[in-house]
Amino acid sequence: MKHLIKSFAAFAIIALVGCGGKEEKKEDSSVKIRAKPKTEVKQEAPAKSDVKPSQMVDLTNKGVGPIKNVELGETIDQAMAAKGAEVFKMNCTACHKTDKKFIGPAPKGILERRTPEWIMNMIMDPEGMVNNDPLAKALLMEFNGSPMANQNMTEEQSRQILEYFRTL
């Protein structure tokens, strides 16, 4: 029921956006209903590259969430990574295979594209990230609108998973 209500709310928002200006692209969610659409906005949108959000490299964005700063050791902490592998197996493998796209993206090589903070924030608060981080939101759309589940990971567990990702 709650989900239904949420869906109705979503429809309502869509309807509102629809009323505001039909000619606008739907990804512009910050639309002001009364404002006339500017043609420049339209031109900006296609300026996006063809690179999929999952392949985009962004090594400055720390995401939005509880993690502000993570120091990675020079070498991989193998004990921590082993714990991370265990946590990952129980909580994440229903949707993630390490080396290929499954329900969600593969974590292999993730540190070449994302900051450690972004990764941990995504693990710890996926809903918050989708709401507040444009890249996380773009990823949701790339992956069929299938939301990443919040597995209630502690900061320690998330850090262990991050260390495990370094081994992949």
């Binding site: 709650k2 493998t93 299938s146 589940a149 597995q151």
Partner: protein, 656 residues
């Protein structure tokens, strides 16, 4: 639209009040309390997103369950399955939960639940557990107030009509279960008209482990063959005693509506359980053969086990001198209520014109000075006048039950005259009376059965609904009415329908319970033998005609979602684990043609649905709980081949 209806109703009501001034006295009198002239609506309004002040746990009566309401809004929050099958979540259908309903009579899928009572420490509500009785096939259940799930059920042997139950002592030392119907003990083939003097009434004291809540029968007190109707613990000064009302002290076995109303006085049985406990701890009592079920839900395996126990310790009251006395009480008393100080014991004689109040102090004095007025089956009867504290004179007709506030007042429900009467404990003076609609059974004040009541609200649980709501055909829900009791006069605030037939309720401030409410089950703690906690556990195994599917699910797919190699005549066990670890993300599981119910699996839990496919074909499975934007995609197929097929078992997810 709603506003215009309200205005229309207001107009009709106003018109009704004017025109009914001489004929409809009750309506006229109530006019001064209508929603128009008070802020009643505001006082029960809980704004969207806000929470109620109190949990109210209402027995479900013939639903066999326990319903949870928010007070003062009267909003129903949950139905907790206890003694009855509950297809909504599979309770009583799944492999894990069917043992909970096992009894010495086999699987019993229904009961009649009556009197919930919340655990206490030092006479105050502590919110650890709530207990409730099954009346028909005598059982007591314990529900955990972190999970709001039935965690344990124990059957009561030698009992029938488990009605004077389930009330607890003030440190939850015991849950007490008394039999309403006396029966032959042990049961045997005998003539019904040999009842008198032959039947026994068992009063059962079940001890409670303070860490785990686990119950075990400590002893059964084998009393004369009366009907034991209701009971309450002594508290504070009377802690260590327990009081039971009796009726049918005539020991009639037919036409009780006449034959059980002959005596001027029946009894309240006063039981010194501490004395009997000591006797039992010193090796007293007699172990007799019995056969009763003890069912426990393990939170880590998510699975219940049922154990049959073959022996019970019985105590003959005559073997423990000074342990049991009878307090004469007019006339077929129903409720047996003890005030918060523990001094007063109220007998609600349902055929009596007056309410009788016994004094605990005087009772002890009468016992010490042997002020007896004969005996019944060897049990001393105390002299009525010597133990009487007072009488509430002609307060109404048909008193059933009395509840207490925190200001020294008592509130008695009157079924026949359909009212709640407030009176002063100690002076016995009637302070207020309010009509209820219609014919109230029990009433409830949160903490009203403890040393520390919370005197904000009184809820009347009415037995007759008639015209209080939009008509719904001949069968209706019962009706509760909420009164504000903070002032000198009770003020009616709200009507709300209740599910089944609540016989009693227990309320508790939300702040005691809400903070510890469980949100998910941790996957790491899941010890279900058939759990598939990660995808490497996913598999399908055949053992003869039994097929076990180790399946898991997360938004928004089942793994596996394609299964082949099942055959007609197989018995397929879908062991489904919900891998979510987020609050309020259950997934459902249903399969076409299953002769059971769905599964509703909470995050981190494993449940099992049994399916015996009867037809060849490719049959769908799907998630029944709208779980995500891709919920409609959460489905799969099971191929069922003929019984003689040689197709091997196979399973997959995301493979072509």
């Amino acid at each position: 639209m709603k506003k215009s209806i309200n205005i229309a109703i207001a107009l009709v009501m106003a018109a009704g009040m004017v025109s009914c001034n001489d004929s409809g006295k009750q309506n006229g009198k109530k006019g001064s309390q209508g929603g128009l002239s008070t802020n009643a609506a505001e006082r029960v309004y809980v704004a969207p997103g806000e929470h109620d002040e109190y949990y109210g746990f209402f027995s479900g009566g013939y639903t066999g369950n326990l319903t949870v309401y928010g007070l003062p809004s009267g909003r129903m929050l949950k139905e907790i399955p206890v003694f009855s099958q509950f297809p909504t979540n599979g309770y009583g259908y799944t492999e894990e939960t069917t043992p909970m309903l096992n009894t010495s009579f086999g699987f019993v899928p229904w009961d009649d639940s009556h009197h919930p009572d919340i655990s206490q420490t030092n006479g105050e509500l502590d919110g650890r557990w709530i207990f409730i009785n099954g009346n028909n096939t005598p059982r007591i259940a314990r529900i955990g107030l972190e999970s709001f799930k039935t965690e344990e059920i124990i059957e009561i042997p030698n009992s029938a009509g488990n009605h004077s139950s389930s009330f607890i002592t003030e440190n939850t030392e015991y849950v007490v279960a008394g039999t309403r119907f006396s029966v032959p003990v042990p049961q045997r083939d005998m003539s019904i008209n040999e009842y008198k003097g032959q039947f026994k009434g068992a009063l059962t004291f079940i001890n409670v482990d303070q860490e785990t809540g686990r119950m075990g029968i400590k002893f059964q007190l084998m009393m004369p063959g009366f009907n034991y109707d209701l009971s309450h613990p002594g508290r504070d000064k009377s802690h260590g005693w327990f009081f039971f009302t009796t009726y049918n002290t005539e020991e009639a076995h037919t036409l009780l509506e006449v034959n059980a109303s002959q005596n001027d006085k029946d009894f309240i049985a006063a039981v010194n359980w501490k004395k009997i406990e000591e006797y039992v701890n010193n090796g007293g009592g007699k172990k007799v053969p019995a056969n009763y079920a003890h069912n426990i839900m393990d939170e880590n395996t998510h699975t219940a086990t049922s154990t049959m126990i073959k022996e019970v310790l019985t105590v003959d009251p005559l073997d423990v001198p000074g342990a049991v006395y009878f307090l004469p009480t007019p006339k077929s008393p129903h409720g047996c209520d003890v005030d918060p100080t523990g001094e007063y014991i109220i007998g609600n004689g349902k055929l009596s014109a007056d309410l009788t109040v016994h004094s605990f102090t005087k009772m002890i004095d009468a016992i010490e000075n042997k002020k007896f007025d004969g005996e019944a089956y060897g049990i001393p009867i105390l002299n009525f006048e010597d133990i009487l504290a007072g009488v509430v004179k002609q307060p109404g007709l048909g008193p059933l039950h009395t509840e207490f506030d925190n200001k020294g007042n008592a509130y008695t429900t009157f079924f026949i005259s359909s009212e709640v009467v407030k009176w002063k404990v100690g002076t016995w003076e009637v302070l207020d009376r309010q009509p209820v609609f219609y014919s109230v059974g029990h009433g409830m004040i949160p903490g009203g059965n403890s040393r520390k009541p919370f005197g904000d609200y009184f809820v009347a649980m009415n037995k007759i609904t008639k015209d209080r709501y939009l008509p719904t055909g001949p069968e209706m829900e019962h009706s509760a009415q909420l009164f504000d009791i903070n002032g000198d006069k009770m003020e009616l605030l709200l009507d709300f329908p209740t599910h089944g037939e609540p016989h009693y309720a227990a309320g508790i401030p939300a702040e005691i319970v809400a903070p510890k409410s469980k949100k998910i089950y941790k996957l790491a703690d899941n010890k279900h033998p058939y759990a598939s906690l990660s995808n490497s556990d996913v598999r399908v195994e055949r053992n003869g005609k039994e097929v076990h599917v180790y399946m898991n699910m997360i938004r928004s797919h089942f793994n596996p979602d394609n299964i082949e190699g099942i055959k007609v005549g197989d018995k397929v066990y879908f062991h489904v684990t919900n891998l979510e670890q987020d609050f309020d993300v259950p997934h459902g599981f249903a399969v076409i043609g299953a002769n059971t119910a769905e599964l509703l699996v909470m995050p981190g839990a494993t449940e099992t649905l049994t399916w015996e496919p009867k037809k060849v074909g490719v049959w769908p499975i799907y998630c029944t709980d709208f779980c995500s934007a891709l919920h409609q995609e959460m489905q799969g197929y099971v191929r069922v081949s003929p019984a003689d097929s040689d197709i091997e078992l196979s399973w997959s997810l995301g493979e072509d």
